[in-house]
Amino acid sequence: METLRAQKKESKKKTPIRISGAEAIIHCLLAEGVDLIYGYPGGAIMPVYDELYKFQDKLTHILTRHEQGATHAAQGYARVSGKVGVAMATSGPGATNLVTGIADAQIDSTPMVCITGQVPRHLLGSDAFQETDIVGISTPVTKWNYQITKASEIPEIMAKAFYIARSGRPGPVLIDITKNAQFDELDFAYEKCTGVRSYKPVPEPDLKAIEAAASLINNAKKPYIVFGQGVILGEAEAELKALVEKAGIPAAWTILGLSAMDTDHPLNVGMVGMHGNYGPNVLTNECDVLVAIGMRFDDRVTGSLDTYAKQAKVIHLEIDPAEINKNVKADVAILGDAKQTLDLLLPLVKKNDHSEWKNEFDKKYQIEYDTVIKNDITPTKEGLTMGEVIEQINIASEHKAVIVTDVGQHQMIACRYAKFKQSKSNITSGGLGTMGFALPAAIGAKMGAMDREVVAIAGDGGYQMTIQELGVIFQHNVPVKIVVLNNDHLGMVRQWQELFFESRYASTVMTNPDFVKIAEGYHIKSRRVVERSDLKDAVTEMIASKDPYFLEVKVEKEDNVFPMIPSGASVSDIRLK
């Protein structure tokens, strides 16, 4: 315990109060500003739930229908609000059911604290009922985790958990609390954690590196910015926009960077990556300076690394030193928080205009529009496309909605075509690709931004992975809008089977239930669209609804998402069809 002491403790100590560990946990949550948690009770966490009952006027607990739903809801909440999401579960299966959401939060850098109950200290290691080594299991997918076995540890560890989850590059923290520590009493006083001696969340920016970056940018003929979620997490949207506009640099987003910049901004050229836009991918290999801001060169972004931006000088602005030179070698690495480093870079960058270079993106866009986009958004064929549904949502929501997507074809289409004016509006499972993410994440997103329209978009596959969370929407009348783009297939896998496995559709054809009846079973207003002529009206009705609304759209069964960089190919070899 001595070694866990926090730095710079405030000197004024509050007078401790004598309370149980379980009550202490509630006080810790309240002290951290938590007013909403998601979870599922069970034996080893019951003392905490008993306290939740007593504190229900101050702390709302939402009973999800599965612990995985609790983590995704906490993630959705965290991603729209920028606050730490909290999920709670019991020991054993309760804890293991959290793991997918924790792994998702880890790879997508989402601040989350998970609290799990554990068997009493004296039963640890005895294979007691519902005992599982959740600290061991969650270690590789948490930013930090800890097992509390004594009530007296609770305040300090909880403070540390929140501090670690939200600081630097955010991530999930799991705190496992043995049942005896929940029952036992402690002298409780809470002090927020302001530092951990072995942990430096934000590296100091190196001014020399910033000068070197400015010089590269100022001398570039074809500079190109690719921005990721680091801009959103660092709340550096205004600084990014200022850099883009001052230096006249075309900028593209990774899937998690989407919404950091107005999608209609003239210098916003679209999405990079496997199903990103044509120009942003191809021109990665033509730019002379690539400025990567708060992104990690995921393989879905870069395609083959051997042929990725080899001609370009790479400037990498990044908060996590472990990302530097991990996948792409940086000629200039600028460590630090995106807001801070962009602020330092901005005055050194000369006002510039690169309209000729930007024109290259426009030309490529025209090619993509003629071969792909036009047919996606304004199709002339009989079957409905996913793209036209997204377009109708754009129109009806006036680009103001939070769009929460699941994983697969609909996700790529939504991220390609959804329009955003405001940051923190695109909530999706990017790194882990967790099917089942959208419905619970949308619940969390709505609760984290009650004033905003929240539209969950899922495929028929992923929707059924967490469909039970309709129960939460019904019970709490959470006014989310749910759109299932139903093609009766696991569409993305089917697409790969068609393109790379000679159309052998192994286990990708789905015989689906009546989704409308299921939603009606939860007393959620529902509608099914099978004809194009009904689409606009249905989407308009859905967006106008004050209540939760479920919309199923039967789309073309075997449509493919293009453009596409085949796995392992170069960004230059992106296929338009």
Binding site: L4, P140, W144, I164, S198, D320, A322
Partner: protein, 175 residues
């Protein structure tokens, strides 16, 4: 880049579970830990992991970056064999009668610069400290006569150059 031996030194808090967290970083990348030693370091409360891997420098660097990223890790480094002073220790348990019956055994003890730790009626124990190949050579020499038990420690190493960690750790001590 070619594989070679790297000694990874990790300065960390002394907390339960950190070994699991660090070893998981190797596991995730399918890299075998050839030797592992955990001990206290020059600073109170600070543990030192000494980990030996056979890998490319690219992997050694990335692994060190990932280790250093862990909340409870203070600092991590990697060094080649040339950059460190390193040793391992080994114990050999051998039947006592060999000491008298096999003249060559006594030569091996002398030539290998090993020490007799204890002699009992049935067995004696030899201790050898040195580089891995020296211990390997001694093992190979003794093997034909029969080794009742053999154990070798993880590598321990110090860097030839001054570790930049010293100042950071000094600050810790003053806290």
């Amino acid at each position: 880049m070619e594989n070679q031996w790297y000694t990874i030194s990790v300065y960390s808090e002394n907390n339960i579970g950190l070994l699991n967290r660090i070893s998981g970083i190797f596991l995730k990348r399918h890299i075998n830990i050839e030797s592992l030693n955990v001990s206290k370091s020059e600073i109170e409360d600070v543990s030192k992991f000494t980990i030996v891997i056979f890998a490319t420098e690219n992997w050694a660097r990335k692994i060190v970056q990932q280790i250093e990223k862990q909340v409870e890790v203070i600092k991590a480094y990697y060094h080649t064999d040339d950059e460190t002073i390193y040793q391992e220790s080994a114990l050999f348990k051998i039947a006592s009668n060999l000491l008298f019956d096999e003249r060559q055994i006594q030569n091996i003890i002398k030539e290998s610069n090993s020490q007799i730790v204890t002699v009992a009626r049935d067995f004696f124990v030899l201790s050898k400290t040195g580089r891995r190949h020296e211990i390997d050579e001694m093992h190979d020499a003794l093997e034909p006569y029969g080794i009742m038990q053999f154990v070798r420690s993880g590598r321990i190493a110090v860097s030839k150059a001054t570790m930049p960690i010293t100042n950071i750790l000094a600050e810790f001590q003053n806290q």
